[in-house]
Amino acid sequence: MSTRKNCLDANDRKIRLFSRGFIWLFILLTVYPIIFVLQTSFKKTSEFYTNIWGLPKIWAFENYVNAWSIANIGEYMLNSLIIVAIVLLVTLFCGALAGYALSRFHIRFAELIMLLILLCTMTPSEGVIMPMYLMISKMKIVGTYTSMILPYIGWGLPMTTYIFRNFFNTLPNELLESARIDGCSETKTFILIATPLMLPAIATNAIFLFVGWWGELLWATVELASSSMKTIPIGLVSFSAQFGTDWGTLSAAVCIVLTPLVIFFLFVQKYFIGGLTGGAVKG
C-alpha cells in the first residue's frame, strides 16, 4: 500500500480528490434525512414547527416513551424479531443443504432443478399472494406467526439456494475430496469441512434475507389486515396514519425500529464483504 502511495502522481491525486467530493455529496444525501429524523425524535412537536433545522432546545425523551407505549412499538418489534429469526434460521439451513447438494452431489436433474429454482426467483410475489392467502385461511392459521413464517421461507429460499450453490461451486474440489478419501461420508464432509468455510456466504444471505423480511409490507398487509398481531412495518404505517402530524413521536418510533437493524448489520458486515468477494454472489 505504501509503495502505491509514494508513486501517486498529480493526476491520481486529482482523481482521488474528485472521488472524495462525489462520495461526500452522496453521503450527505444519504445521511442527512436520517440525522434529521434522529434530531427531530428529541424535539417536542410544538418545537419542531418553530425550529426545523436546529438541534432540540429541550430534549424531549418522552417521545421515545410515547412511541414505545402508544405506538406499541415494543410488541410489534418482538413479533417481527421472532418471525425474522425463525425465517432466517430455517431458510439458511435448508438453502445451504440444497445449495450443497446441487453443487456437489452430481444429481441427475441438477440443471433442471436449478432452472426451476431460478424461475421461482423471477416470480413476483404479486402472482402468488392471493392464493397464498386462501391457502393460509384454509389451514386456519390467519394472523399467526406460522402464517408469516411459512411463505417467507418459501419466497426467500430460491435466491438463498442459488447464492449458496454458486458459493459451493467456488470451493476447491481438492478440499472436499481429501475429506472423502479420509473416509468422511457426504453428510460428514458437509458438516465438518463445508460449514466452517461458508460463514461469508451465510452472512451475505442473512443480510439479504433480513433486509427483505424485516420490512416486508405486501404480504403482511394482506395477511394481518384484520388481525391484532402486527409486524413492525405494519405497526409503523398504521401509527403514521393515526398520528401523522406528531412528528416527534413518529421520528422516535422510526429510530427505535432502526436500532436492531444497525446492530445486526455491524455484526455481520465484516463477513458480508468477504462473502461478496469470495464468490458467493457471482453471476
Binding site: I23, G215, V257, I273, K282
Partner: protein, 303 residues
C-alpha cells in the same frame, strides 16, 4: 466374488440418492408450497369469477379481455414498468459511479464510505417512506425548505400530490435506496481484478475514465448484470414504497399493479380479476428480466 463390487456400488449410489434427496427435500417442499402451488392456483383463478364466498364460476378469458379495456389497470402496469425501469437504470448507473470513486480512495476511508452508502439498502421500506414523508412534505419538508433557503421559491412543489412530480419522486427514492447494492457488488468484484491489468493501459496514458469504461466495466459485467437483475426485481415489487409514500395517489396517478390488485381482491372481492392482473404482471416481470439478461449478457471475459 464377482458380483460383490457391483452390489456395493449400487448400494452406495442408492445411499447417495437418499442423502441428496434428503438435502434437497426441505427446500423444494417449501418452494412448492409457497410458489408453485399458489402460482398454479392463481392461474386457475384468473379464468374464474369469484367473490370469495359463493361458488367460483368459469368464465374463460373474460378477465383478460376486461383488462384490455380497463384504463386504470393499464395505467397501473405502465406505472410499475416505469418505476422499475427508471429506478433500476438510475440505481445501477449511480452505483457504478460510486464504486468507481470508492475504488480510488484509500482502503480505510473506502470501508467507511461503503458502510454508509449501503445503509439505505438495509432500511425497511416503511421507514424509507416515513423518512421521505419528511423530505417531501410541502410545508415542513426538507426539500421545499431547502429550496426556500437558497431562494428558489418558485421551484417548490407539493411533490407527492402533483401529477407531474409524483412518479419522479418515487423513482428518486428508489434510486436513493438501491444504488448502494450495485456499488457494493461492483466494488467487490473490482477488488478481485489483479492490479497488473492496469499497467499496460496506464503506460499508454489512458485516463481513469477510459480505463473504467473500456477495461473494468467489461470485466465486471457479470456482476453488473446480477445487480441489475436483482434491483429490477426489487423495484418491480413496487407495493411497499408507493403504498407508504402516496397510497397510489393523487387519484390513481401513481397506482401500481400490486396496489390495484390488493384493492381489487380484498376491497372489491373480485378475486378472479385480480388473479388475471397478477398473471399478466408476472409475465411482464419475467419478460423484462429476460430482456435485460439478453441485452447485458454478451460474452464474458476471463482474467
Amino acid at each position: 466374488m464377482k458380483t460383490y463390487p457391483a452390489i456395493k456400488r449400487r448400494k452406495i449410489s442408492w445411499r447417495k440418492a437418499l442423502v441428496s434427496s434428503l438435502f434437497l427435500l426441505p427446500a423444494i417442499a417449501f418452494m412448492i408450497f409457497s410458489v408453485y402451488i399458489p402460482f398454479a392456483w392463481n392461474g386457475v383463478l384468473s379464468f374464474q369469477k369469484w367473490n370469495g364466498f359463493s361458488a367460483p364460476k368459469w368464465i374463460g378469458f373474460d378477465n383478460y379481455k376486461n383488462l384490455l379495456t380497463d384504463a386504470v389497470a393499464q395505467r397501473g402496469l405502465w406505472n410499475s414498468i416505469f418505476l422499475a425501469v427508471f429506478s433500476t437504470l438510475g440505481a445501477v448507473i449511480l452505483g457504478l459511479l460510486l464504486a468507481a470513486f470508492v475504488y480510488k480512495v484509500t482502503e480505510r476511508e473506502g470501508a467507511f464510505y461503503r458502510l454508509i452508502i449501503f445503509l439505505p439498502v438495509m432500511l425497511p421500506t416503511a421507514v424509507v417512506g416515513l423518512l421521505f414523508a419528511f423530505v417531501f412534505n410541502p410545508e415542513m419538508g426538507l426539500l421545499n425548505n431547502f429550496l426556500r433557503v437558497i431562494g428558489l421559491d418558485s421551484f417548490t412543489h407539493v411533490w407527492l400530490e402533483e401529477k407531474a412530480t409524483v412518479m419522479w419522486c418515487i423513482v428518486a427514492v428508489n434510486i436513493w435506496k438501491m444504488s448502494g447494492l450495485t456499488m457494493m457488488l461492483s466494488f467487490a468484484s473490482m477488488k478481485m481484478l489483479p492490479e497488473s491489468i492496469f499497467e499496460s493501459s496506464k503506460l499508454e496514458g489512458a485516463t481513469y475514465r477510459e480505463q473504467f469504461l473500456k477495461l473494468i466495466l467489461p470485466l465486471i459485467k457479470s456482476t453488473v448484470l446480477l445487480s441489475a437483475v436483482y434491483t429490477l426485481v426489487v423495484n418491480f415489487k413496487s407495493y411497499d414504497i408507493v403504498f407508504v409514500l402516496t397510497g397510489g395517489g393523487p387519484g390513481t396517478t401513481s397506482q401500481t399493479v400490486p396496489i390495484n390488485m390488493v384493492k381489487t381482491a380484498f376491497n372489491f372481492s373480485e378475486f378472479g380479476y385480480a388473479a388475471a392482473m397478477g398473471m399478466i404482471f408476472a409475465l411482464v416481470v419475467m419478460l423484462v428480466v429476460a430482456i435485460v439478461n439478453r441485452v447485458l449478457k454478451g460474452e464474458t471475459y476471463e482474467y
